[in-house]
C-alpha cells in the first residue's frame, strides 16, 4: 500500500504520542494501579485530576531523586546507597516507566522484580549484605575492652523511645516499631524489620535510615554537646589493650550467635549473617572468601540494594505527610540513641573511681553507624584536648553498637508479634 506523505507523518507522530501522554501525566494527573503501572487511560473523562496521584507528585519525586544524587556525589553522603536510590527514584517515577509494574506480556519491571525477589520475598539482599559487613569488622578493640559492650546496648534506647512517640502520634504498633528501628542506625536492619512488618512507610524509613547515617557527623556533636560539659568531654581514658587470642576471635562470632539466638530467636538471621561474615574473616583459612565478602559481595549487593529500595519510592507511597513525620521521628531516634549512650556513661562514672572514669562521648559511639560515629567522637575529643585520643575506645563502643542494633532488631521482631497476640 502506498502511503501518502501526510499519512506517514501522522503515523510517525502517533508513535511519539507517549510524549504528549507523559506531558499530560505531569500536568494534569495520572492513575496508578496496584502494580504501580502508570495508566494515562484512567484519567477522568471530564479532564479532572485523578484522585490517586497528580503530576506534581511525580515532579517532587524526580526532585528527590536529584537531591539524593546531589547529596551522594557533591556532599559525599553515603554515596554507595544514596546514588542508586536517587537514580532509582527517578526511574520509577517517570510516567509509563518500563522499570516498574507488570507488562502486558507478563514480564516485570526490573526494579519491581529486584524488590520483590531480593527484599519482599526473602529479605535476602539486606541479610547477605550483613555477611560483607561482618567480614569488614575487626572486633579486636571490643574484645580487648569488653565493657564497651554495654554502650552498644544503652545506645539503642532511642529506638524504643521513638516507638512510644510514634504510637502517641497514632501510628499502628507495627508501623511505630518499624519507624523506631531507624534508630538502629543500620540500614539493612531497618529494611528487614520494616519489610517483615509489611509497613507502607517502608520507603520513608529506608531513606531516613540511610540519610541520617550520613548525617551522623552533624547530628551527634549537637546531641552530645547538649548533654555534656566541656570538663566531661575532656576526660582522658588510657588505652592498654590486652592481646586477643585467635581462639577468642574465632569463638566470639559463634558465642554471640548462640546467645543472641537463645534470647531473641528472630535475631538469628541478622546476627547469624553478621557473625558468619566475621568468622570468614577470623578463621584465617578462607581469606579468599573473606576478601570477596568484604569487597565484591558487599559492593554487588549494595548496588542492587540501592536500586531495589527505589521500587518503594513511587510518588504515591512517598509524597505524603507521613514521610515528613517519619523523617522527624528518625531524627528523634538518632538523637536519643546518642543521648542514652552518653547518659549511660555518665551513670557509670558515678560508680567509677577517679582515673578510671569514662569520657561520656564514648557512650554516644554505641550506635551502629560504623565507623563514622567513632571518628566523630575522636574528632570531638581532639577538638577539646589535642592530646586526648579516644578512637580505639569509640571503635569498641561502635562495633558493640553494630551487634546491639541487630539484637534490637531481632528483639523487636520477636516481641512485637507476641504483644499483638499474633
Amino acid at each position: 500500500m502506498q502511503y501518502g506523505k501526510e499519512v506517514y507523518i501522522v503515523e510517525v507522530l502517533q508513535h511519539f504520542s507517549f510524549l504528549w501522554e507523559s506531558i499530560v501525566a505531569f500536568l494534569k494527573g495520572v492513575d496508578v494501579n496496584q502494580d504501580g503501572i502508570v495508566n494515562p487511560g484512567a484519567l477522568l473523562a471530564d479532564g479532572t485530576v485523578s484522585p490517586d496521584i497528580t503530576g506534581w507528585k511525580l515532579l517532587v519525586m524526580l526532585a528527590v531523586g536529584g537531591l539524593l544524587i546531589y547529596l551522594a556525589i557533591a556532599k559525599d553522603f553515603e554515596p554507595s546507597l544514596l546514588m542508586p536510590m536517587g537514580l532509582g527514584a527517578i526511574l520509577v517515577n517517570l510516567p509509563f516507566s518500563g522499570a516498574i509494574g507488570n507488562a502486558a506480556d507478563g514480564s516485570q519491571g526490573i526494579i519491581d522484580w529486584l524488590f520483590k525477589v531480593g527484599i519482599e520475598a526473602s529479605e535476602a539482599l539486606p541479610l547477605i549484605l550483613f555477611i560483607g559487613i561482618g567480614a569488614m569488622i575487626d572486633f579486636g578493640p571490643l574484645l580487648s575492652n569488653p565493657k564497651m559492650f554495654l554502650f552498644g546496648g544503652a545506645a539503642q534506647f532511642g529506638i524504643f523511645l521513638t516507638v512510644a512517640v510514634a504510637t502517641l502520634l497514632g501510628y499502628d504498633f507495627k508501623d511505630a516499631a518499624s519507624i523506631g528501628i531507624i534508630g538502629a542506625a543500620d540500614g539493612p536492619t531497618a529494611i528487614l524489620v520494616a519489610n517483615v512488618f509489611d509497613t507502607p512507610l517502608l520507603p520513608a524509613i529506608m531513606v531516613a535510615a540511610y540519610s541520617y547515617m550520613a548525617l551522623v557527623p552533624i547530628i551527634q556533636p549537637l546531641a552530645i554537646k547538649a548533654v555534656t560539659t566541656k570538663k566531661e568531654r575532656m576526660i582522658r581514658m588510657s588505652y592498654n589493650p590486652s592481646s586477643v587470642s585467635r581462639k577468642t576471635r574465632i569463638l566470639f562470632p559463634i558465642v554471640v550467635t548462640v546467645i543472641a539466638g537463645l534470647i531473641a530467636p528472630k535475631s538469628v538471621s541478622l546476627v547469624g549473617m553478621l557473625m558468619f561474615g566475621n568468622l570468614l574473616r577470623e578463621c584465617l583459612k578462607l581469606d579468599n572468601l573473606s576478601q570477596t565478602a568484604q569487597t565484591s559481595l558487599a559492593n554487588l549487593i549494595t548496588i542492587v540494594l540501592g536500586l531495589s529500595i527505589a521500587a518503594s519510592m513511587k510518588a504515591e507511597n512517598f509524597v505524603k505527610l507521613d514521610t515528613i513525620i517519619v523523617m522527624a521521628l528518625g531524627l528523634v531516634a538518632f538523637v536519643f540513641d546518642t543521648i542514652a549512650g552518653v547518659m549511660f556513661a555518665k551513670l557509670l562514672n558515678i560508680f567509677l573511681p577517679e582515673g578510671k572514669k569514662i569520657n561520656p562521648m564514648v557512650g554516644g559511639a554505641g550506635i551502629s553507624a560504623f565507623p563514622m560515629s567513632a571518628r566523630v567522637i575522636q574528632k570531638m575529643a581532639l577538638k577539646e584536648d589535642n592530646q586526648n585520643h579516644l578512637l580505639m575506645h569509640a571503635v569498641g563502643a561502635n562495633v558493640a553498637g553494630q551487634i546491639g542494633s541487630v539484637v534490637a532488631g531481632g528483639i523487636i521482631l520477636t516481641v512485637v508479634p507476641k504483644l499483638l497476640g499474633a
Binding site: 569488653p146 565493657k147 524504643f160 512510644a164 581462639k247 566470639f252 558465642v255 504483644l419
Partner: protein
C-alpha cells in the same frame, strides 16, 4: 492493651533483652580472654 502500653512494654522488654544479651556476651568474652589462649608457638 493500648498501643502506648504495648510500646512502653516493648521499651522495657527491649532494653532488658539487649542488656541481657550484651552482659552475657561480655561475660563470655571475659571468659574467652581468660581461658581461650593460643598455643605459644602460634599466633
Amino acid at each position: 492493651m493500648t498501643a502506648l502500653q504495648n510500646a512502653l512494654l516493648l521499651m522495657l522488654l527491649g532494653m532488658v533483652g539487649i542488656f541481657a544479651v550484651m552482659l552475657l556476651i561480655m561475660v563470655a568474652v571475659n571468659l574467652l580472654n581468660k581461658f581461650a589462649k593460643d598455643n605459644d608457638n602460634k599466633k
